[in-house]
Amino acid sequence: MKKHQFDVIVIGAGGAGLMAALYASKTANTAVISKLYPTRSHTGTAQGGVGAALANEEEDHWEWHTFDSVKGSDYLGDQDAIEFMCYEAVQAVYELEHYGLPFSRTPEGKIAQRPFGGHTNNITGKPVRRACYAADRTGHMILQTLYQQCLKNNVNFFDEFQVVDLLVVNGAAAGVVAIELGTSELHVFHAKSVIFATGGHGRVWDITSNAYAYTGDGIAITMRHGIPMEDMEFFQFHPTGIYKLGILITEGVRGEGGVLINGKGERFMERYAPKVKDLASRDVISRAMYLEMKAGNGINGQNYLYLDVRPETVNKYAALDGRRRQDGSPYLMTGEEIIAKLPDIVDFARTYLGVDPVAQPMPVQPTAHYTMGGIPTNKYGEAVIDENYTVMPGLYAAGEVACVSVHGANRLGTNSLLDLIVFGKHAGLRAAEYALGADFQPLPADPTEFTKAQFDRIRNAQGNEKILEVSGKMKTIMMDLVGMFRTGEGMQSALETMRELRERYNHIPLHDQGKIFNTEMINLWELGNLLEIAELTTVCALARTESRGGHARDDYPKRDDVNWLKHTLSWVKPNGEIELRYKPVVITKFQPKERVY
């Protein structure tokens, strides 16, 4: 066992983690621990843009961005936090530019912006160009830029270290335990502040845009220490995943004029969102797609639809919508422009579908995409561990693992990258500030006790179960029964299956008993996380007898503000029981009303 001591440790090296590290390291001795090399983090796969009302392309205001995000959240987002994020957004994006981020440019040399789902001009209700982009690899450029700046600022990195436990002493965070993947050696990181920036858990579902690494580690680790999770029933399904594979096709495709087409050749979103059509929010579009496919309107009656970004299609519907360029000329796209603005999408479609998107439409289906819920925090990234907003000293979370809540029941596109940079920054600042004024908590006699017990169980499991069969069953059941549409009956049955799977999980033998890159052992640990999260998600979803944002129930199809305008807090008790409590939504300016796009 090796011991390390830092003022601040950051777990995860995606956008939120690196932003936190960059800021914390200005004043505090900071280390980043990541199970991947930092540039492998999932932020890198984000495509379309980061939302900020720069008004570079047309009139826009951060207040409009705030309202759009509140409405997008189906009124479950906390409005004080959303205001904070949208106000901070503008400066945060300039800051990224000052760090060297190569944004695409307008003819005047400013940061280029494109329309995105749910982002509107609040007066006309029409889509507004708010997503600041670097072609269709905005996340890649954010990840690279932040990693580069961290190198420049000599941030300490522990790459390919899997954090497996949080140390809690005297009710405060005292550090973490990690496994060095190359050697299986245990490392204890003693710290005053611990920032979780470990991302989401989209690997719970079968069709997913999420990386293999997205196994909910931060949520699983913290909930085992009695920290509640907020709004775990809310998980976003993105409308356009590549058919069968789930690989994401950015909403930017629709921002540039692409449309969704059903098996009858109809642009069906006209019926579901008459004003903004294909640029409605994701929950609305994914549900519309589901209903179309259920009604037999999939392509050839199958479970997919077309995303069509061929120039002739784009230009036809742009003309019907009366869309114009900034200089007032009609909106006409050529194939070359589409390829230039969406090079990676063209590459994905060619590689994985064998389809050239400027010549053929792309087969798509909704794909599991984003964790709205997570570790409850305030807007400074401090973990707040009950309905009275009690702060747990030394514990922070930022990015997809956290629930501030700025996304409520449904996140708007471009707000995830924004969330990373705004709350990553503030979590880093606050964690460093706290660390400078606090003492280290004493470490327990054997800080690795829980870790050792956990991994002894994994190493010594007896039985004939197979990891791919247990994970496969979890994914398909969660997709079918706790996915885009849910019913009480279906979820009850899913819950029983998850509990069976947790039992079967204990009988998956570990074939690799070695120490060097034992990826089988780590994958098994990750599957344990996913199973616990799948169960928690299902319990929270079963309890919420309404439909809101990403949580849509056939048996309770309406939003119910009288009973359910509140956040779920869920605790996993030491005996495995799950306790649910609730806390109110913070409402400042916008009273809930019906959502129409």
Binding site: H140, Q149, T519
Partner: protein
């Protein structure tokens, strides 16, 4: 269809030297080599070790040598390999740690040595620094790099001497040297004007051919050579 996947295996805790294992499995033409490796790990041998994460060619974790050429395993589809026999080996020129996992430290150390970060110490304006569409386009290609190491580990000059910075590090330098906003081009060019720098590139084009991001790597290195000689940065 049935395919045979022959995989390079080496477990330093058990094996004196590396060997190959062959696995027969059913696969669809659209399956990725990564899918096959996952299947082998799940059903034949849990000890098989490799890196992977995003599984769609962006994170850069799973660079491997597949039928003799470097690919990302998640971007190599069976139908594109035109063979039912697939050989999977670790990328060359780096120490093999276990199976398909190699030691990346030297690779990242070369990356870090070229100042791969934006430098401009002038106080920034309140809004963005302006950059024209053309200036932005000048270095667009090299911003795509995902540090997968396909290029560097396909380069015979790198195989001959791993002190050579290699294509990936030079691509990182190029991305900043040709960025109109950056102020440290001269320093980076000085670093690359070294016996282990740009002149080790003998325009063999292996890097360009296998780059999963389709970056014109050899051309970019050529531009660095010209910039060192002429001082021109346009």
């Amino acid at each position: 269809m049935q395919v045979t996947v022959k995989v390079f295996r080496f477990n330093p805790e058990k094996d004196k030297k590396p060997h190959y294992e062959s696995y027969k499995l059913e696969a669809e033409p659209t399956d990725r080599v990564l899918d096959m490796l996952e299947y082998i790990k799940g059903y034949y041998d849990g000890t098989l070790s490799f890196r992977r994460s995003c599984a769609h060619g962006i994170c850069g974790s799973d660079a491997m040598r597949i039928n003799g050429r470097n690919y990302l395993a998640c971007k190599a589809l069976l139908k594109d390999l035109h063979s039912k026999r697939i050989t999977v080996e670790p990328i060359l020129g780096m120490r093999v740690i276990k199976d398909l996992i190699v030691d990346m430290e030297q690779f990242f150390s070369h990356y870090r040595s070229v100042m791969p970060y934006f430098v401009n110490n002038e106080p920034p304006p309140p809004q963005e620094r302006f950059q024209s569409i053309e200036e932005r386009e000048r270095f667009d290609d090299t911003t795509k790099c995902i540090l997968c190491a396909c290029c560097t580990t396909s380069c015979p000059s790198y195989w001959a001497n791993d002190q050579y910075f290699g294509p990936a590090a030079m691509i990182a330098a190029h991305r900043f040297i040709f960025d109109s906003r950056d102020k440290a081009a001269a320093e980076r060019l000085k670093i690359l004007n070294d016996q282990f720098g740009v002149y080790r590139c003998h325009t063999i084009f292996n890097c360009t051919e296998c780059c999963p991001r389709e970056i014109e790597i050899t051309q970019a290195i050529g531009e660095l050579k010209v910039a060192i000689i002429t001082g021109r940065l346009k």
